[in-house]
Symmetry: C6
Subunit: 248 residues, 6 copies
């Protein structure tokens, strides 16, 4: 099976070369685990190999995200202007300064509930951009707010499946970030972990008073891969994984 | 009691030969535990012994599943064309690109709630295929989405019983995969564990910073069997169990 | 107080001779703990002593149960034909192939909610059979589905009391199996544990990676008894308890 | 402050002589912890000292309770006929063989919800009996079913207070048994623990595979008392506490 | 900042002299932790220093509370008659023997829901008494029942704030007792802990089978204070804290 | 990226100089962890560097807060009169002595639910003050009550985002305090932790009977920072962090 290198130092080793090409991978982590850094590092590597990337931000404003990335010396504006990375701002609420009440009435006019509206429209937009712009890598960061809108588990499952399928149909290699609800190792599993083809976990553990960041490939259909917890750090050049080390 | 070999290396030893023939066995595991690999390995072994297998996928699209299996050198397409394995795609939502809202209105027209519709129709379809095609092995992967549709425990119990009975009535030896909700050993039990005739647990444990995969025969009515946790790995040829080893 | 031997190897020792005659004992265990084996072993021992037994199955079909028992060399059909053990199939849903929707409409016609219907009718049937057939031992396996139908705790308590009383009024010595919700030792207690006159717990523990089966007499009103956790195994002749051993 | 001896071997030592006279003490324990034995032992001791006792049973039928007590060589019937112990059967549901539906319609006719009815009527009855019969010791066993009927915490608090006050107004020394919801030491506290003047906890702990029974005076307003966990056993003569021993 | 001595042996040392004058301090503890003893000891010390105290009881009847305090040789009646301590019985339900149903109809007539009624009226009463009687110390024991009446967290927060402010406006130094929901150290925090200016925790811990009582100043705005867990015992003279000791 | 010094002794070292300028940082801590002290210390440092600060109090009354700060020798009144620190009292409920019922009717008249009202109006007020007064540092203490008003997670997320964006748009460097729900290290994460650009955790841990205060930079987008748990204490001059020490 063809691979798509992540370009994250030490991590492709764990994957045995990279993500399986054309698949959709979930990246789950807690606050400060580096989900957005992971996503952008993945697109940057593509940009270097002339694979155009699409970054879809659902919570944070693009300008904010860009300013954060400068600390790694990543000039997103430049890559954007060169057309190597496209940014889709899926945060209408944020861009416009509309109040919550306005938004709700707006939804009401449309006679649709927010979940359907957003999920459907997002999928349509993604397909359109990918076709027109020849995108090869997609990063959705984070999917959480959309998943949370489905309160009943069966409907949530269907929505997540629908979205993952849509990404797969683009034939891009996609990553979708999601919020890890708890810091414990023996936690409950999230619906999306079962439904995605690959799951990367970014743990933040506290062991004997030490905070330890550990990455784990929980699942990666279609390829052989490492299954252990491996330490990683967020350094000057982004995420660096230590593929041969143990966490403790 | 007659046996049906699983063909999973090292595992039939734990069972003392294989599954009890004609029974329905539940395979429960977390994300990345290898439920689908287990199911397919089981059908492949049947195919080699001229026992036709039926694989029913409820979440993942057959084309996706097939591509994942290539990493084990399993050519499902070939087996399908030879009629040794039949694939039933029970994921209408996925195949069609219909939106959630469309699906819901569609259900509405039928004047039935989704659960009944799906469970009943699935049972009818399975019986029809088994009768016409002379199936001897069935794998349903995974049953979770259907179980989740029943919110009240008593109704859920009845639905699960109804489904397990239907599989038993086919006189095939069936496996049904289900999602393990948590990674902890001392977890709560799921309804389906009590109602099935056999339960295989695929654990993913974290012990002293190590990720360990362990298989356990929690229950297997009608036969003597090993009851311990045994390590297993997902290698180049699929799942391999180490029947004499301890997990730690 | 008179005793009723269970005939389970090593277990009557813990009880100091057997169950108190005429009482109703709860047997609680997880999946694969051997609740049904316990129940049947109890009736078989009665059969040997010319005490007629009534086995009431609420989930599993009699034919299935029988086939499972063959692995212990127990010929239930023979005992049934000799009238030593009677089987009451309280699984209407299962025997008939009616769909869930049909059943619900059926309930609707009767103008009664399922719980009352079943509990009352079951009690009436049991009394009738015991009177007509001179039953001395009863096993209800498992009661769980009926208990779950009462969502409010006070109503559940009353239903359980009503049922236990009905069994006591038969003057038989009865056992009722129930599903243990979790594998942990320090678990919450179930309503039925407080309301029954005796409680046998079948634990499945994981200690240092080992799966251990342990039996415990949590409660047995009217007699002196052992209170410790004792190891047991499910062997060729059914359940065997080691009354002098420690679990670890 | 005057004391009322419990007569439970080794226990009065922990209390420094007995319960504070005229107070209401809660005895909380899990299944098989010996709540009923504790209650009856308390009344028996009174009987020996010519203090008439009233035993109020809310779940178990008096005849059943009596038969259980024979194992301790306690002849309740005799004490009853001698008028030393009075038994109030507060289990209408049980005595009459009425079905649940009948009972509910009966409640409906009365135009009152079950909780008020029972609590109020019970209080009235207790007062009447105490006045007419000159009772000095009361045991209510167990109060749980009545507490559970109040779903909202504030209403539950008021009901429990109302009931405890009513017992205090009788000027008897009363004990009320209640069900411990979990076996863990670091558990949540129950409403009634805060509202009663004294709380005795009957723990069943599992320590290194051993089952240990431990009694603890969690609270006893108005007197100095031991506060440690002390081992106890249920022997031939009822409950025996070892006031100087440690549990482990 | 001026101080108000608690007079609790060893405790003022932890506070560096006493409570900050004019503040409102929360005292949280489990059943039997000595909340009421703490409250009364605080008022008694004031009485000795000619600071009049107001004790407001919300659950327990004053006569009961008084009788409990006699075990410490505290003659509340005398102090009351001398006007050194005032007792406000805020337990209408208790004083009157009205039934729950009566009370509810009573509330209905007033056309107000119980929470507002009680909270508002209590505040008005407290202000009136303080102004007329020149109170300097207040103890509210316990506030729990009033807090529980607000089911929605935001409303609960506002009610608690409103009440704490009212006490602060009296310019008295107040303590409010509240029920600790669980015995675990790593527990969830209660709303009132965040909103009060000071929080004293009375823990009851079980360590290696020993029951240990520990006091902790979790929070005390405006002053420097000890932050460790310190052992305390309830002795003949009330609560005694060991300010230099460790709990284990 | 430019920095904004916190001025908290030892803490800027962990940040490598201070907060990223213009960002919004969340400070989460339990009761008594020093959230308000942290906020005020941050503004005081600004005042010294001629950066005007705005302190917004949502629960506590300004006069109370001020009096608490005197223990650190901080004269907020003076700074206020010099215009170096502005205090916005966002606690209408508190200032006015209106009853809950009045407030609710008031809300009713406005025909808006409290959440929208407050969030929107607060944002408007903050923008107005910042523009008119040339504020450079903002502290909102605490945001909890406003977050709690949104019961549905998706709405809560949007409200939090809306508020954080509003603060960012002021171009001030802001801190927002929030209540930590539990004392455990392996806890669930709060919505706001994922949505803010920086998260500071103030832990209160109990280790071998010792209470330990530990600060942790969980997240700080845009800069390199320390990630470990570091001990801190609340001393005579406010919070002091020990950037090179381990907690145990």
């Amino acid at each position: 099976m063809q691979r798509t290198e992540t370009g994250i130092k030490g991590f492709d080793e764990l994957l045995g070369g990279g993500f399986p090409k054309g698949k959709c991978v979930l990246v789950i982590g807690g606050p400060g685990s580096g989900k957005t850094i992971f996503a952008m590092q993945y697109l940057l590597h593509g940009a270097r190999k002339e694979e155009r990337g699409l970054y879809i931000t659902l919570d944070e404003r693009p300008d904010q995200m860009k300013s954060h990335m400068t600390s790694f010396g990543w000039d997103i504006d430049k890559l954007e202007s060169e057309g190597k990375i496209l940014l889709l701002d899926a945060t209408p609420l944020r861009r416009s300064k509309r109040s919550l009440s306005e938004v709700e009435s707006y939804e009401h006019e449309l006679g649709v509930s927010l979940p359907e509206l957003t999920l459907q429209s997002l999928i349509r937009t993604v397909h359109k951009i990918v076709d027109e712009e020849g995108i090869q890598r997609i990063a959705v960061d984070p999917i959480t707010s959309m998943i949370l809108r489905y309160h009943e588990l069966p409907k949530r499952r269907r929505a997540v499946l629908l979205f993952f399928d849509a990404l797969i149909d683009t034939e891009c290699t996609s990553i979708v970030t999601s919020e890890l609800r708890t810091g414990v190792l023996d936690r409950g599993f999230a619906v999306e972990e079962f439904l995605s083809q690959g799951v990367i976990l970014l743990h933040t553990l506290v062991h004997e008073g030490n905070v330890i960041k550990a990455i784990q490939i929980e699942k990666m259909r279609g390829i052989q891969h490492d299954t252990q917890l491996r330490p990683y750090r967020i350094g000057k050049d982004g995420i660096e994984v230590f593929p041969k080390d143990r966490i403790f």
